[in-house]
Symmetry: C2
Subunit: 368 residues, 2 copies
């Protein structure tokens, strides 16, 4: 199998750690942040720009790609890498979260989930087997099991039954996975906001022996402390030598806490979504560059940043682009925000390398 994970240097069992994932499309230094390319494009940016900002791996959303342009078309194009011209690693989620958050009239049974498309109302039925066929067609380096994302709040009985279903589906995914040698299938820990269910979910998935494990169903509206409690319950059940991926989390104050608890991988639309709403991530916090106060500010988005945007354009110009609804504005802030996010991740890796994670955690633990 072309997928492997290696821990680098010293590490405690469940503390911050440096690692390296190897895939047939290249290596990924962890902890890693994965920009989200929902519809086979990280919004507003080109693959060339994603390389320039330092993206090691990007994420594609199976739910969206299944609906449009369709998995079969992507397969005909030679897979997602070829379709979107991205030659570094890709991870696809399973659609479980989007069926929960976007689709209409969702009905869950043992067999799978029926729902109506958020695009045109058309009826669909996804099962673990169907999702594997789709993810096999998309051809990402890392693929995720089909799971049920538990609503928050949910009562204990619902969470217990749903978590058990996700585990049964994980087994079915493993059996249906047609490209075991080429695509690493990760299990997804659920369990709602119940520590015992999180432990149980992790332990049952570990029995199935996946090459990596995700923690799903967090950052769905619960308090930060509760999220961290769930991480603390789940992570110690997971094998030390497999990558751990906290799904949908990308706010730096959360990321440093999760890294401190042994998480290796993150994805989130936050940097690019904030960008499109005119908010830049800077060394001194969020900057709403579209605000009128920056109309005559001829300094860069972030004076501490060495990205191409900060070397070239001013806040005043970018603010003008937003005021005039010009697409270049969305591009420039998206580029900068991803550059910033990925650079911080690189700093975090260096800090772990030299045993100074505590300092960098302190720096970002109240980042807003």
């Amino acid at each position: 199998m072309s997928f492997s994970f290696k821990l680098l240097g010293d590490h405690t069992a469940f503390g911050p750690r440096r690692g390296r994932i190897t895939t047939s499309h290249g290596t990924i230094e962890t902890p890693v942040f994965m920009p989200v390319g929902t519809q086979a494009t990280v919004k507003t940016l080109s693959p060339e720009e994603l390389r320039a900002v330092g993206a090691q791996i990007i994420l594609g959303n199976t739910y969206h790609l299944y609906l449009r342009p369709g998995a079969e078309l992507v397969r005909e194009a030679g897979g997602l890498h070829s379709f979107m011209s991205w030659d570094r690693p890709i991870l696809t989620d399973s659609g479980g979260f989007q069926v929960f958050s976007l689709a209409k009239l969702r009905k869950i049974s043992e067999e799978g989930v029926s729902f109506r498309s958020h695009l045109d109302g058309s009826l669909h039925f996804l099962t673990p087997e169907r999702v594997m066929a789709i993810e096999n067609a998309l051809g990402a380096d890392i693929i995720m099991c089909f799971d049920e994302c538990i609503p928050y709040p949910a009562d204990y009985a619902y969470a217990r039954n749903s978590t058990a279903l996700t585990t049964r589906w994980a087994r079915r995914c493993q059996q249906a996975h047609g490209r075991l040698e080429e695509q690493a299938l990760f299990g997804i820990v659920q369990g709602g906001m119940y520590a015992d269910l999180r432990r149980e979910s992790a332990a049952s998935l570990v029995e199935l022996d996946f090459p990596g494990y995700a923690i799903g169903g967090l950052s769905v509206g619960e308090p930060k402390e509760l999220m961290l409690e769930m991480l603390e319950a789940a992570v110690p059940e997971l094998p030390v030598d497999k990558p751990r991926y906290l799904m949908g989390v990308g706010s730096l104050d959360y990321v440093v806490e999760a890294i401190d608890r042994g998480v290796d991988m993150f994805d989130c639309v936050l940097p690019t979504r904030l960008a499109r709403h005119g908010t830049a991530l800077t060394a001194s916090g969020r900057l709403v560059v579209k605000n009128a106060e920056y109309a005559r500010d001829f300094s860069p988005l972030d004076a501490a940043c060495d990205c191409n945007v900060c070397q070239t354009f001013t806040r005043a110009y970018i603010r003008h682009l937003f005021a005039a609804r010009e697409i270049l504005g969305l591009r420039l802030v998206s580029y900068h925000n991803l550059y910033f996010m990925l650079k911080v991740m690189s700093e975090i890796r260096q800090a772990i390398d030299v045993g100074q994670f505590a300092e960098i955690k302190k720096k970002y633990s109240s980042y807003r």
Copy 2:
């Protein structure tokens, strides 16, 4: 003065010709096509990409920049070049056409034009002197006189009076121009669709001795033949050794006819506007790439094109981006269309250099 124009090689008095404009921001080989950067950005593209597609000079719209972000702000930024980070030449129009085509409740007097902004309905009054102050603040290499764009159709009396007004305004512009040494001010030939008025307009402007001359008020709905007739009336009145700029024309079938009649400069939103509507310019004509027929077409936009987009992405992918309303689609087709347009212009220049303009004119004279 930092502006000069030199004719290169053989040329007839009013036939196709090769030239070179020199400005303090670099040289421009003519005939030239100028991409339009209305609001201090060529829509969807970065300055870096504009250089990559071969843009020698771009156009900014005074009307838009005056309304937003305002000429004073651009001046504070160090001028338009600095504001938008474009270090090659820039031309600004005078706003005459936009006041005519976009503004509301326009009222024209000898003194100037009052109108309401298309953005917020606010009341404005532009005079030749005010427009010069604005264009001086914007700081483009080539600036245009404030003119009245005559509606089509217009009766003879209206066209005659309006053309005389434009000439009087041209004189006032010349007198008010505060940066004569740094910015070349072009006069604009009007005259509606009356050949004698076109000749008269050109002749009166030539008396004022501008460093270049534009032909305005064409391609406003009249038949192609009528436009060419107006060109044939105006151009012979203009000095051979000064550049001639046909405003707002960028359809290749028109461009080759105008070059054949001695025109040197063109601008048009067509390549970028078509792009944003999902239409690519290709060697075999226009291709509506957003159409369903390209959903599984894994060939490039234009097999004959060596641009970065055609080397990297397929019609199927670009079609998907349009279907999914992803910004990257707008970017890719905009990039390709400008590359295509500027490459054709380069071919045209080479053809003139070797005395084979007739062949290339034939190739593009029915381009659609």
